[in-house]
Symmetry: C2
Subunit: 414 residues, 2 copies
Amino acid sequence: MDKDIAKQVAERVNAARLLESVDALAAFGARDDGGVNRPALGERDIEARRFLIERARALGCSVSVDACANLFFRRAGDASLAPVMSGSHIDTQPTGGKLDGCYGVLAGFEVLAALNDANIRTRRPLEIAIWTNEEGTRFSPGAMGSSAFVEPSRMTRYADVRDADGITLSAALETHRQAFPSLAKRDSKDAAHAFVELHIEQGPQLENANVPLAVVSGIQGVRWYAFHVKGTAAHAGTTPMPLRRDAMTLAISLHQEIESIARELGQADTRVTFGRWNIEPNSINTIPSSVTFTVDFRHPDPHVLAAFDEHANAIAQRHNVRIEAMFSHAPVAFDTTVLSRIQAACHALDARSLPLTSGAFHDAMYLAQHCPTGMIFVPSRDGISHNPAEATDAEHLVLGARVLAHCLTTLCND
Amino acid sequence: MDKDIAKQVAERVNAARLLESVDALAAFGARDDGGVNRPALGERDIEARRFLIERARALGCSVSVDACANLFFRRAGDASLAPVMSGSHIDTQPTGGKLDGCYGVLAGFEVLAALNDANIRTRRPLEIAIWTNEEGTRFSPGAMGSSAFVEPSRMTRYADVRDADGITLSAALETHRQAFPSLAKRDSKDAAHAFVELHIEQGPQLENANVPLAVVSGIQGVRWYAFHVKGTAAHAGTTPMPLRRDAMTLAISLHQEIESIARELGQADTRVTFGRWNIEPNSINTIPSSVTFTVDFRHPDPHVLAAFDEHANAIAQRHNVRIEAMFSHAPVAFDTTVLSRIQAACHALDARSLPLTSGAFHDAMYLAQHCPTGMIFVPSRDGISHNPAEATDAEHLVLGARVLAHCLTTLCND
């Protein structure tokens, strides 16, 4: 019976209404090049929030806010049951597109509307959330809202973070409070029943496989290292090859060794990037005396990440090179029950899907610490994101929203 | 008989006087760290020139100057015969040492004194030269004085070159004229009989071989190329390895290919340096979209240089990478007769020597276009040069001056 209801709701997803909402939201902070620039808690973001609060109220939702200005749009169910949650973020990169984050929020709104249109009351309440400052470009780090939601003590640390103009997060939150003085307070002390985030892939895999959906099984863990390689500067003309201590030659041999071990350890799931290089003295006719390069290694398996840590340190030690651990984040495995509901939704709607691990971070990474969580991806054209050219075919946007509608309805009736 | 005379002169080289003169000259522009900072035609250089002009006159030499402020200290011989020339430069790098250039000039002065002490009149006149602005750090390019001496038309181009303070070479030359208004004019229309330059090696080979002298057979040719490698920037987390176009990965494979072909073509004489790298966007978690790196390739054999040009261009074409030819200079082979006189001097004085090709440029590179030319190297401690730590053992400095005295005397009596 639930399955039939879920399918009904999915069928009520209105393609025109969904696509129109993408353009409507993109108007707040629209760039001349078709992109969007909407910093978290800035004037445009507050206007966009006002627009969505009004839409949510028109859909019959109650609206609440928490200490980090996360907004919650709640469609009523049995108030004694934990709600099902969905949503994403609406802040953008300075040269961002219309879809990153926004699509997940707007598809959630479309599910609210479809439930209304189908005239269905779910057992559990459904909450669509807007998480504050996911991009991390105005205030660092990213995913502030979702991480503070799951662990409110983080607010102590976040409060004094300043943006490039010296404005603290506290001050920006106060501006937000003044803009929306009457919103009810929401706290996170009661866990949700589940959280599902729908997002664009921000990579090329779905397009490359010509598959419209991914059931996202987790988020890769990441390690950032810097290798500091020392040599001896000397004259390019007078120093015979066997007498050189060329820091770049050693750095390149480390690069080859690290890349090779990274691919061997992680196989097809390995992502390894040597993105930043600093060469001294960086002169055409002087042998490099010092090279620093970074390694970004990602993998979904914590054992592979641990093995990479060991190898990276052993390589550095063997070559007498200083290694600096810059950042690390454990992989997140999403909840198998939630994933099976997403998978079932795909089946019910005859939508082909791939299992995929997310290479980028998302709010769902933190929500997974709070409640059973899963994600759905739709394709990114040419794999492009964080760019005005960010795009997804309309049919994929609609299909993603239908699958979201299906699985949220199912979860709400658990 | 000449051999006996040459040996007599070599034996008159006075170690204490030579070593004292090194310290005396180093006082002009002395740095607190023991090094020397004496930009070409600056106040300190003019003071140093005045000091040497007075010394030369005290030794009975006539002094002349040419259009590029090169100074010539002439010990008389048969005025109808072409003179033998020696010398080097006395300008330094901003953080230079006491020996680079200065040693060759001062050893020449020591030969003048030794000839006087031996009371010998040579057939040919002997001229010790100070070549202006060899380092090229005040006015670019380097070796201005020697290149203008052998090709005076270059002065038209050099005249307007400005130093970092906007002072033109013309203005600096005028300052020099005003400092020494009464010097006779010297022009280069009559070729010299020979030019011999004594210099520190500025590299580690003599020290490494534990040999005190090198008979320098020539100066390597050089090729400077830049390779401009393009890729596609993408997210380090979301882009699978097989779908990447990583500019650094391609640049490193080009580096490996170029280094391998350079070593294969040039064998032990190859010098290949990848000194300057520019990576874009140079961000830890973004796949590099663009890498430019330089190649400095040096070899004494013009055929090897030509083969390298061909291979470098073919590699660039094969990988669809833009290659930019930045600079090239043909190798210089010194005169075999002059080299045999240097070799004979080493034998006569029981001094061990190696044949060596110079990896650095010297004034002798240009003089070789003017007259039969050769060079002698003494060791550089730890191969260090262009540095306050630049040093050569006293016994090596003395031995070099003795060999110079021997071969200049022989050449003067040709």
